[in-house]
Symmetry: C2
Subunit: 432 residues, 2 copies
């Protein structure tokens, strides 16, 4: 049979798509047997075997026998499991926050190799000074590793409005940065690593991580709202992340909820963000709206003491959260909505007012079915989201990772190659 050129192209696209699906499945779900992969990807066993061989040849996955027997042993030989190879390509994840810089090396499967943090006020630094600090921090972190990781890209979480294509920061109010070409500054400051750089908005990245690995796991219709200065939203529609025609979707903070309300950073008036952002909360409580995380911590302490002004300010934020969430419930009919960042912290004090408004304003059917919860990854969500951003090109097309020359698929009863790094965040470090 003569196959057309169009047919060849279609075949290679199907192959690429299947490699991407398999790697993404392992990235999200951990160890899977060949049968489980075949069932969940709806592929036959020979295709599955061929895809595993290619991913292994690129150093992305490996195959081994299970450490423990399956709960209900079945006759025949034990089934090996396929896993992300922890020595495969990893992301350098950077978190630039108002009061600290964090860095981590995070591989596929959200495997955190190492993570470090330095406390300093970025608001009093120029972008160049901040990146000098970040570069030193990363240098000392990489020095702690037994051997250099295969860094594939740098993913950066920035507290501001970011242009996706090149990491240009329009405005990072909490840092006092405006019109900073952050992506290209990082590219040149970290040119020694020679890898691409991707910059994202902190709240968006956290919401993405929550969807993939936290409170949104397993839901096909999910919204994560992340308060961190402004509002970030991760919206999942039918199992897929909402990105829009050019990647700008999800700016829920700029739905108008009060047309004649206060001016927003974006130039409009009465955006939802002007009602539920950190600044609005601090202003209502009589604190400096630009007081940042220290002022929020102070407010939370006051609420814990039962101070009425603090409680009233949080209830008012809760009321406005409920107003906006009701609109999102009516538009998206999600099965779950998660509150993260600032909203998880104020949840105990804001929840009652939030639920009251949600109950009044959501349509009966979608309102009755939506589950309201809090984000589950805590502060790690930002670094994990930054790593997702950096690793996304590999997940979309695993064939961009060169063949490693070592195509052996390793099978043994014990872990043949103990990962030379692969610990997750130590509890003490995770809590810092």
């Amino acid at each position: 049979m003569v196959r057309s050129r169009a047919g060849d192209i279609a075949q290679s696209e199907i192959r690429r798509n299947n490699l991407s699906r398999m790697l993404s499945e392992l990235h999200l779900r951990g160890s899977l047997t060949r049968s489980e992969l075949a069932a969940s990807l709806r592929l036959n066993r020979s295709t599955v075997a061929s895809l595993i061989a290619e991913l292994a040849a690129r150093g992305l996955v490996w195959e081994r026998l299970r450490d423990k027997p399956a709960p209900q042993p079945t006759p025949g030989r034990p089934s090996p499991v396929v896993e992300i190879c922890r020595e495969g390509p990893a992301a350098l994840a950077l978190e630039l926050s108002t009061d600290w810089i964090r860095a981590a090396v995070i591989g596929l499967g959200a495997c955190v190799a190492v993570s470090v943090r330095k406390d300093l006020s970025l608001a009093s630094s120029t972008p160049e000074q901040a990146l000098d600090e970040a570069h030193d921090l990363v240098g000392s972190m990489l020095g702690r590793l037994d051997h250099g990781p295969r860094l594939a890209a740098i993913g950066v979480s920035a507290p501001g409005a970011v242009r996706a294509e090149d990491g240009y920061v329009y405005n990072a109010p909490n840092l006092g940065w405006r019109d900073v070409p952050l992506g290209s500054l990082i590219r040149s400051r970290f040119s020694d690593l020679g890898v691409p750089v991707f910059v994202g908005n902190d709240a968006d990245l956290a919401a993405c991580a929550e969807h993939m690995r936290g409170s949104g796991r397993g839901t096909a219709d999910f919204i994560c709202l992340w308060g961190e200065g402004g509002i970030g939203a991760g919206i999942v529609v039918g199992g897929r992340s909402l990105s829009g025609a050019a990647g700008y979707a999800g700016e829920v903070g700029h739905m108008t909820v009060d047309p004649d309300g206060a001016q927003c950073h974006c130039g409009s008036h009465g955006c939802w963000e002007t009602k539920v952002g950190e600044e609005a909360l601090l202003r209502r409580s009589g604190r400096d709206p630009n007081g940042g995380s220290a002022a929020v911590a102070d407010l939370l302490e006051a609420a814990e003491r039962g101070e009425s002004g603090a409680l009233a300010a949080m209830a008012e934020s809760g009321r406005w959260l409920g107003i906006g969430i009701a609109g999102l419930v009516n538009v998206f009919n999600p099965s779950r909505v998660a509150l993260g960042g600032l909203y998880a912290r104020i949840n105990p004090y804001a929840r009652q007012a939030l639920e009251h408004e949600l109950g009044r304003r959501a349509m009966p059917a979608p309102g009755a079915m939506v589950e309201l919860t809090t984000a589950s990854l805590g502060a790690d969500a930002l670094l994990l989201g930054a790593a997702e951003l950096a690793l996304a090109p590999i997940l979309r097309n695993p064939a961009i990772v060169p063949l490693s020359g070592d195509a052996t698929v390793i099978i043994s009863r014990r872990r043949a190659r103990p990962p030379s790094y692969g610990w997750t965040l130590a509890p003490a470090e995770a809590r810092r």
Copy 2:
């Protein structure tokens, strides 16, 4: 090779999915050659041939030589095209509006076999009386056909809030109907036809038709707003219709845009619908808010004469449309937004105010790229949407259509079987 039962199930699911994709592609795009089908569905030619054979055996498609040679003739024998078979299963589409009933027989591929209309005021009828009228109208319409169509289902457009599962109408304010089990009433009144009944909200159905065949055709990120009493929205995200966790998504009319505003039919306050619905427009212009389409026609005439009150009322609706659309643009980043129904009619008078608000409130990047347009199917959108609703089960799973016993795939230079019905709406009728 021994194939597992799970493997068999997966294979049959893949088959069903491929049948659905092929039929949907032909339903939307019309005639396609085998090569075009193979390319767009990313399937090999032998799979394509086998799928065509099955769809033909079920009387859903047929294959014939093109009437005209292709623009650039290629060497070798001419390529036959696959088409929806016009004698295949069809929907009885019913439109219950305030001032008329319309009915049509519409097949796959939106092929309108026949369509009729009767003017009467449904607001002064009970649901039972309305259905008696509809039944008479349908009876006379079916009598006009050469031979009875293969009716597969009834799809009904109703001007109110409808429960998808069973067609229960919570509220149809323009008809004065509340808590009407419309689906089951139609099922029993049309029991002579013995087919399933699906009821949808008129604006939602129109928006769906616009997405598939009108102003949204070919866009992957599209929003159609349809004013018809309330607001209906058809939202397409990444090429797929937004339905949410249980099919309730798209209620954009119930986003809060003015928390302390007027009470909405839904029980909440300051919903977008209270600002841009027909009632709000009529009230602002000093007309009876429940005046319906006659009052709207009167308002449009006044605007055409340049009457300032009418123009101001429409501009105010435009302003509120812009406020809500800006929020949707920020949340969804659509490439196109279409205005249909009432919004298409007031567009000439409301557009300037709408664009002014949209420009102020949309974020720069998604705002700059969105194209604002009007719906293109006109009044037919409701019937076409009702037919989509009725035919959806066949499109999802073509194997529910029984084998017709005639599996011959017909190929001839001329149209071998001229469709015994298959004309589209005559222009005069379409304009009525």
